[in-house]
């Protein structure tokens, strides 16, 4: 789950990290009132994605009138596919220096990684490529944690002057928030040293592990809702992994790997997959609901059912599909490929109850479906 800047900052504030004064506004009038109370402000689009500055979603405003005009210009923009419905109106900080700080899950070391750079405001990939000497990284033993001594060691040799102490304290705070909230990523860019010596986050990018949301209920309501289509919402309610795509060949398979592969082979055969939908694992009993979902997309002109059962029994999955087929009476042609656990029974059922002969090679089933969708 991604958190917009203001939501991430409120998670930081709840954990005792000091953040700049700001207000979330949904209209030019609200932005004007906020600026009247705060003084000179920055008006920032709130969307759960990066590159806001480059898209014109961040503007300085010296007066309440300017704040209103900036908010007017930014609200309603679309940034990275997200419509801007709210802006953060935040105090302008007297910035002395800008840094970069992040804590994230690192697959290579299979541990948390703390990153810090004296080059704030830039993409971290760019920093790593152009100013590697400014970038520090430390893999953390998650059972021991990351304390002040670790932070000092990480910052050793960087020219931070008096900022070294508050920066070290901020890194320890960021690690604590990362751990407390099952974050996959907590990134502050820029992290600013102010003229008065304080170190404050001027931006905040927070991603919390979806698998851990059950124990993060207190902050989950602050997170950004994923933009889902109506069918994707329905899939989620059924606990099915359904992703809507632009094509016309419906895909129903079991297991993430096989479903991705089915989409790949559809493309390779010159077709366009209409969706990703897998009913592997515990979902293998949901064939009926799954087929209903795929056929609810009016763009679907043909359908591939590709099962290769291991844990998921193909006879159970095929039974669900057959039941849905009889209930829904669809007119689109369907092409089966069925292998693995329960295969003989599944093939017999499809043959006898639907009068359809499954293909021996999945590539052939998919080619036929692509042809039929033309």
């Amino acid at each position: 789950m991604n958190f917009e800047e203001q939501a991430g900052k409120s998670v930081l504030a709840r954990a005792g990290v000091s953040v700049p004064q700001g207000r979330l506004c949904a209209s030019a009038q609200e932005a004007e009132a906020a600026a009247r109370a705060i003084g000179p402000v920055v008006v920032k689009a709130q969307v759960p994605t990066g590159k806001r500055g480059k898209s014109g979603g961040v503007k300085l405003a010296a007066t309440p009138e300017e704040a209103a005009a900036s908010a007017q210009a930014i609200l309603g923009m679309e940034i990275g596919g997200f419509p801007v419905a709210r802006v953060l109106v935040e105090e302008q900080a007297a910035i002395a220096r800008e840094f970069y700080a992040a804590v994230l899950n690192d697959p290579a070391s299979r541990s948390p990684l703390v990153l810090f750079s004296t080059e704030g405001g830039m993409d971290i990939e760019e920093v790593a490529a152009t100013r590697p000497e400014s970038l520090r990284r430390m893999a953390v033993d998650i059972r021991k944690g990351f304390g002040p001594a670790d932070a000092r060691r990480l910052l050793l040799g960087l020219d931070l002057g008096e900022a070294a102490v508050p920066v070290a304290a901020m890194l320890v705070d960021l690690y604590r928030v990362y751990r407390q909230h099952d974050a996959e990523l907590l990134e502050i860019n820029p992290l600013a040293l102010l003229a008065d010596g304080r170190v404050v986050p001027l931006d905040c990018k927070l991603t919390v592990d979806d698998a851990a949301l059950y124990r993060q209920a207190d902050i989950a309501e602050l997170g950004a809702k994923e933009p889902l289509s109506a069918l994707e919402e329905r899939g989620r309610a059924l606990d099915l992994k359904y992703i809507e795509l632009e094509g016309n060949v419906g895909v129903l398979a079991n297991g993430a790997g096989l479903t991705m592969t089915t989409m790949d082979v559809v493309s390779h055969a010159g077709g366009r997959p209409a969706n990703f939908l897998e009913i592997g694992g515990e979902a293998y009993t949901k064939g009926t609901e799954a087929l209903d979902l795929v056929l609810s997309n009016p763009g679907v002109k043909s359908l591939v059912v590709n099962f290769c059962g291991a844990f998921a029994r193909t006879d159970v999955m095929a039974g669900g599909v057959i039941q849905a087929w009889k209930t829904l009476n669809p007119t689109v042609p369907v092409f089966f490929s069925i292998h693995g656990t329960g295969e003989d029974e599944a093939v017999r059922m499809v043959r006898e109850e639907l009068g359809i002969e499954p293909y021996d090679r999945m590539e052939d089933a998919i080619s036929a479906a692509v042809e039929a969708a033309r």
């Binding site: 541990s111 297991g255 790997g257 390779h268 291991a310 844990f311 292998h339 999945m362």
Partner: protein, 302 residues
């Protein structure tokens, strides 16, 4: 990490529906299951083996080598650490959707105790004709046959399809190594490849990858160094960026984890990467014929 009949297997969560079903399948196939774990039913027996309260207790009473976990996500960390601290050589973690911070704690404990973790989110490992640990259809002779090709896959379903294709093409398997679809797995593509390169029973390798992460790129270093033929299929070429395609690890963000990067790295290292999985057996035939010719020429020269 190649399962042997001599490996003593403990089943954590043996009394549940899936634990029971797959324990029976493993036993019927020849896997040496020595016990199960369920704290509430300790002292009883199930599937003909004793139930222990903890993995530590199982280790104290007869011992085990490999633990396989049929454990829900919220309890997975404690179960894995129990097995690790008991001294398991290998923990096969089938569980999907374990919180990442828990997974990192499991990996840290495993590194300290010298335990190999396979997974999380793996379908398990198979040595055809000898045994299997996990939830793969080892017992289906159309999918698995004893042979000389080692198979590595992040996905159980796609791994099953590839094994089926290989058997149809006349290639049995020396081992199937399912490594899991999570972003932070204990045994990586490179680790699995190293095990197959070292395995005298393996003549050639089918490496099944997918978008996300950089494990295939890292494994390419070993592909370049081995004489064993390597064929590969990478899933996810048609997947849109920014979406997790079912597996938490299967996501392309920016340039990271792309199909092109993985395919490029493997091809530069000398692997043959095919467009569709059905082409794997033919690619394997061609490479193995070439390798046989090379070693024949070598023998003549000697």
């Amino acid at each position: 990490m190649i399962v042997r009949k001599s490996d003593r297997v403990l089943v954590q969560g043996i009394t549940g529906k899936q634990g029971t079903f797959w324990t029976e399948q493993m036993q019927a196939y020849g896997t040496t299951v020595v016990g199960g774990v369920n704290p509430k039913k300790a002292g009883q027996s199930h599937c003909g083996v004793p139930i222990f309260a903890t993995a530590k207790e199982a280790m104290a009473s007869g011992g085990f080598d490999v633990s396989v976990m049929f454990i829900p996500p919220a309890a997975a960390k404690a179960a894995a650490i129990d097995a690790i601290e008991a001294g398991a050589k290998t923990v096969v973690c089938l569980t999907e959707h374990i919180p990442s911070h828990d997974v990192m704690e499991m990996h840290a404990a495993a590194a300290e105790h010298g335990t190999r973790i396979i997974g999380p989110n793996t379908a398990g490992i198979v040595t055809p004709g000898e045994g299997f640990v996990g939830i793969m259809p080892a017992f289906n002779p159309r999918v698995f046959q004893p042979g000389r090709v080692g198979v590595i896959s992040r996905s159980g379903s796609l791994g099953t399809l590839v094994c089926l294709n290989l058997v149809r093409g006349g290639h049995g398997q020396s081992a199937f190594l399912g490594i899991g679809g999570d972003p932070m797995i204990g045994t990586t593509t490179k680790d699995a490849l190293a095990a197959l390169i070292d395995d005298p029973g393996t003549d050639a390798i089918a490496l099944v990858g997918e978008i996300g992460g950089s494990m295939e790129e890292e494994a390419a270093e070993l592909v370049a160094k081995t004489d064993k033929p390597v064929v590969s299929f990478i899933a996810g070429r048609a997947s849109p960026p920014g979406k997790k395609m079912g597996h938490a690890g299967a996501i392309v963000t920016g340039d990271r984890g792309s199909y092109a990067s993985k395919r490029g790295a493997l091809e530069r290292a000398g692997a043959v990467v095919v467009d569709v999985p059905g082409d794997l057996p033919a690619a394997l035939d061609a490479l193995m014929a070439e390798a046989a010719k090379r070693s024949g020429a070598q023998r003549l020269a000697d």
